[in-house]
């Protein structure tokens, strides 16, 4: 008999858990955001702060890449798409863009490297494999080890758009899966070169001047540092209701302060 009681209790517990799992939730208004993985942390932070003052709104932020963000917003799957690159003319049709911030891309080398400055063209030749020794750009007689990110990464596609153009990054470049591991790889190898976002820059590696301008938040803000990419919220048509409220919040001084806190250069 004892066993039967236990069984009864077990079944009761299972039913309660099942009920709690499928219980109809309170009716929240929801905003779906998807797109660039570089924008994701900023968007999550903005969403978190926005939810604090708007308890009836739930914002869901997903990654997937800039292209996915743009295509899903134009198909109406998500409310806001995020992009960490400029939209092409074809993509722009029917969409409204809101630039929420700008990110600088830093070219990082080992602290022991004597090189301080490279030009745009030199950078392209190094990453395409045309220049293979630091000697060719006025540095030590050392082989260049190119470190890149995996294809699809927001930072990589921004770098490719800005520097590489139609040329390809050399196929034997070492691929690292995160900004942090690119930095680690550059830090321990005197011959290495890689690119990281300005937000994640630290003294572990040395930032190069590009065409004479050193990367800094000011240089990104006034546009003098050329290696920069916009963070864009994309909306289909005119934003309405809570989506408009959220975008207004993002562009307000309060929202821009959050953007700055996430080490992204604000636009206002």
């Amino acid at each position: 008999m004892d066993l039967k009681y236990k069984l009864g209790i077990l079944i009761a517990i299972i039913i309660i858990i099942a009920y709690l799992t499928f219980i109809p939730s309170t009716n929240y208004e929801r905003i779906q955001i998807a797109g660039s993985t570089s924008v994701q942390p900023v968007a999550e932070k903005l969403a978190e702060k926005f939810e604090e003052t708007h308890p009836n709104i739930r914002i869901n932020v997903q990654g997937g890449g800039s292209s996915l963000g743009i295509s899903s917003v134009s198909q109406g799957i998500t409310d806001i798409g995020t992009s960490s690159r400029e939209l092409t003319a074809k993509e722009k049709v029917g969409l409204n863009e809101y630039i929420i911030g700008k990110e600088g891309i830093v070219i990082a080398v080992n602290n022991q490297n004597s090189i301080n400055e490279l030009t745009n063209a030199q950078l392209r030749d190094i990453f395409s494999g045309k220049i293979t020794s630091w000697k060719e750009v006025g540095g030590p007689d050392l082989e260049i080890h190119v470190i890149t990110r995996e294809s699809g990464s927001g930072t990589r596609s921004a770098f490719e758009n800005l520097i590489m153009g139609d040329t390809k990054i050399r196929p034997d470049a070492i691929v690292q899966s995160s900004t942090e591991s690119v930095k680690q790889a550059v830090r321990q190898d005197p011959g290495a070169i890689g690119f990281v976002s300005l937000a994640r820059m630290s003294s572990d590696v040395k930032a190069l001047k590009i065409d004479g301008v050193a990367p800094s938040e000011e240089a990104v803000f006034d546009g003098s540092y050329s290696l920069q990419t916009p963070f864009i919220f994309v909306v289909k048509g005119e934003p309405q209701g809570i989506v408009k409220e959220f975008i207004d919040f993002t562009l307000s001084p309060e929202g821009q302060a959050i953007v700055k806190e996430e080490k992204v250069v604000p636009v206002r």
């Binding site: 997937g64 890449g65 034997d172």
Partner: protein, 290 residues
């Protein structure tokens, strides 16, 4: 009443047992459903034997990664098998009790360390060391297989130690009684009798090496090329899926699942080989099942 209970419990156990099978079938079904379209539209042979993987140009050849996975795995087995078998023999036959009490937990701890820790250790310590010693970038097939060696040691050691220990005592006693020394007994009696279990241990270790993802991503360099030497960077099949899954859409997404199919087939082949040896070399004399 008792009959009713009996029935309920029996069926309950049956359902839990069948659940795990259903889950596996679901996973297999899903991988094939998502992966096969890519293989069909790109061409099965093109996919497997294609040398060029560049999703942005619509090229999806995984041959370099098959070579990468196999290369890393074989190299790590080359290091791990002799090391772990000798260690297992020591633990099972020679080590005094107190020493065993220290060694066993230490080896088990190795198995418990998360792979990201191994990867980070490799990136910070091993990669710079390899670069200074052997030149190049330090990211290489050899670096990855050294990390994997440490990761699969505990698996092979503990399973082959169990295999050695489960050899019936009579075998050892008979051998010693005939005048064989301890080492001769180990070499000629215990080891051959434990072979099926040891092969299982090696195959399980191999399975872990093929499937390991994170640690390999961090130290292998992930370059899609056929390595000229063990000091060249390579990309493994698992790394390919983990690296690009976050961004993939359309055919690229399906191609990553197709990479999963290749991995799946490789592991099935390993398991079939393991089972074959396990039953073929089974020793049944003297009432001992090994």
């Amino acid at each position: 009443m008792t009959k009713y209970e009996e029935f309920l419990i029996e069926k309950g156990l049956f359902i839990t047992a069948i659940l795990s099978i259903i889950v596996i079938l679901l996973i297999i079904g899903f991988i094939f459903k998502e992966g096969l379209p890519a293989m069909e539209s790109y061409g099965f042979l093109n996919f497997i034997f294609g040398m060029d993987w560049s999703p942005s140009d619509g090229q999806y050849g995984v041959f370099t990664m098959i070579i990468g996975s196999i290369g890393i795995t074989l190299l790590s087995l080359l290091f791990a098998v002799p090391l772990s078998l000798l260690c297992a023999i020591f633990l099972a036959e020679i080590a005094p009790k107190t020493m065993k009490r220290i060694l066993k937990p230490v080896i088990e701890t190795l198995a418990g360390i998360p792979s990201v820790v191994y990867g980070f250790f490799g990136l910070i310590i091993l990669v710079p060391f390899m670069r200074v010693q052997f030149g190049g970038t330090g990211f290489s097939m050899l670096t990855a297989s050294l990390i994997l060696t440490v990761m699969i040691l505990p698996t092979i050691i503990s399973i082959s130690e169990d295999a050695l220990k489960s050899v019936p005592h009579e075998y050892k006693e008979a051998s010693l009684a005939l005048g064989a020394t301890h080492w001769q007994t180990i070499k000629n009696v215990l080891f051959p009798a434990a072979i099926p279990g040891i092969i299982t241990a090696i195959i399980l270790g191999m399975g872990r090496a093929v499937g390991e993802t994170l640690a390999v991503i961090m130290v292998a360099g992930n370059v899609t090329q056929i390595p000229n030497s063990i000091f060249d960077p390579v990309r493994a099949l698992t790394s390919n899926i983990a690296l690009e899954m976050g961004y993939a859409t359309g055919l690229h997404y399906n191609a990553l699942f197709a990479t999963g199919i290749i991995l799946f087939i490789m592991i099935i082949i390993l398991l079939v080989i393991a089972n074959y040896f396990h039953y073929k070399k089974k020793v049944v004399i003297g009432g001992g099942y090994l």
